[in-house]
Assembly symmetry: C2
Homo-oligomer: 382 residues x 2
Amino acid sequence: MSRASVVGVGETEYTKRSPRTALQHQLEASLTAIADAGLTPGDVDGVIPIGITGAPVEEYVADFGITDLRFSAVVPHGGASAVGALQLAGAAIAAGLCSTVLVPFGRNTSSGAKAGQRIHTMPQFHFVSEYERPAGNIAPAQLYAPMARRHMELYGTTSEQFGEIAVSTREHALLNGRGLMTRPITLADHQASRMITDPFRLLDCSLESDGGAAFVVTSPERARDLAQTPVDLLGSAMGHPDSPSSITQRPDLTRVGVAKAAALAFEAAGVTHADIDVAEIYDCFTYIVLCQLEDLGFCAKGEGGPFVEGGRLRLGGELPTNTHGGLLSQSHMLAVNHVVELVRQLRGTAGAAQVAGAETGLVTGYGDMGDGGVAILRKGTS
Amino acid sequence: MSRASVVGVGETEYTKRSPRTALQHQLEASLTAIADAGLTPGDVDGVIPIGITGAPVEEYVADFGITDLRFSAVVPHGGASAVGALQLAGAAIAAGLCSTVLVPFGRNTSSGAKAGQRIHTMPQFHFVSEYERPAGNIAPAQLYAPMARRHMELYGTTSEQFGEIAVSTREHALLNGRGLMTRPITLADHQASRMITDPFRLLDCSLESDGGAAFVVTSPERARDLAQTPVDLLGSAMGHPDSPSSITQRPDLTRVGVAKAAALAFEAAGVTHADIDVAEIYDCFTYIVLCQLEDLGFCAKGEGGPFVEGGRLRLGGELPTNTHGGLLSQSHMLAVNHVVELVRQLRGTAGAAQVAGAETGLVTGYGDMGDGGVAILRKGTS
């Protein structure tokens, strides 16, 4: 039973070294998403800005044409925030707090705040400060590398299996004309790329990028009167790893928050894994896709390596994944672009990357040391 | 029709120059509120930390005994965040995202971050940066003073009328044994207190304080099985002033976000102003109480000055207001202590400040240049 529908999506151009601010990107993506829905800013009465670089909602009331803002909140889970915002938008609408929610994101990290600066805005989790930082682990790549290394030690997972994720994601990025990465890569390219922090090579890492993305959510009833084929939120859930803030102190380094969220989301949606036609899975690093595939229940823990082989994640494969090129090869829009892509897939407007006949899909989020979110969406009737 | 009930409240000791951190205050208040409800941390599956100084929710999962966190968000509206969190907790529970939500707050401003430092953590609203800061207006007292001055010019409101709010609030603060302020004041004391920023004198301003406060929300059904008389959320709403981020550029400097929220909250609650037995109204400055009384509809715009005269806001008066001593004389807990006090009043456990027979009450929030929230609560049946 759907309580909310995604009715509009928008993206800016994805670039590096943009002269435009995060706010400019955020506002442009917002206007595009609202227009895509056939709405105007005055129709929006809820805003859930995606944190980290997001402008406060007050900017929207002052400058943007929202005259009667009735709801705003922030979901503070890093890369899981977009899925969390989608879930929260649905709840706020179902509870009658507001009728139409904008979820906007914009950033300028390659020419604005640099990675080194952004570290200071990361939540200062107590456990990370106590256990990880003293060992010199500061950047996300350093913090997550031990999870991947542990998986390799326990289950024999290989760098080539991570590479398969990099290669298939790059292949998809070339299809939509928006990807920052414009040349195909091979497994040999992956293996030859320089080591960043063991076991992550350069091509295991997502991009620094500038741009914005946004989506608009409303009630299923209202969605039927708008411009696009609605895409209904069937079920969603958030989950947190045990001891979320310290990775190395967890009982199981390979289990992330998505493990708890997945069972709840599938149950709420009333669908099974076999129903999922397309998946957009948070991919800050290749390994993070692999471990989520396990925690989502597409394969057993430890079997993610073999699971990704043989083209299973490619278009035409059993589980086409990150059909837009993801954070690895399209743009690091903190998974707001994953939601945008899933909506396009379920509308049937994903262009050269369209999964034929896609009706039901899944999007995940992963952030802040492993907080996770899962949302399952389905093409609605218009 | 109530969708949520407040079932537990907690406060720390309120002090200045505390050696304890904001997180320690936050956790202690949380444990007290959870125990007050007859619950344990493992029963909590949602957390809405009150921002500004609040620790991220991940600390609760790591250290606090919450093993299955299903929902967390932040309501980013400064002093309106506590009412916003109460509203959001109700929505999250009604939508089935979680069953029991903790709303915690802790701070250490008098010996931790000083006011000057906190300024840097205030949202950097575009409009404030463009219009207010260049004129030297940086601190909240400076930003809000023009609103009060404008009200005095338009409506003949006097400093003595502000003083009446300071005096009655102080009188109430002496009754619960928790107030930072322990001596009564007279109107003459108010008038003799030094000017901080025209027209705000020292005794028009709220306190710098250390401590924590928290409350617990669950479904009305579950509330009936817990330790305390439940207090039901009848209706709530958030509202934003026109051009919220710039005060001096607004079409009407005297109208704040509560004006939009009040009508919605009363309608949702299905009660009238005559039903309100007790009010806890955000009081960062005396004038902010006065303008909210108007925007809430207790009197017409411009009549707030005469309205507060004659003891109307005192215990025994027509609208007993800030019966705990508020931010002005109890402690600046960002209105989480206002929610705590309203719950105690409606349980009938407010001690010497108890409003006889109080069954229905109202709490407001005001923050970030005038964002507002209104929640109407009623004593439930246990």
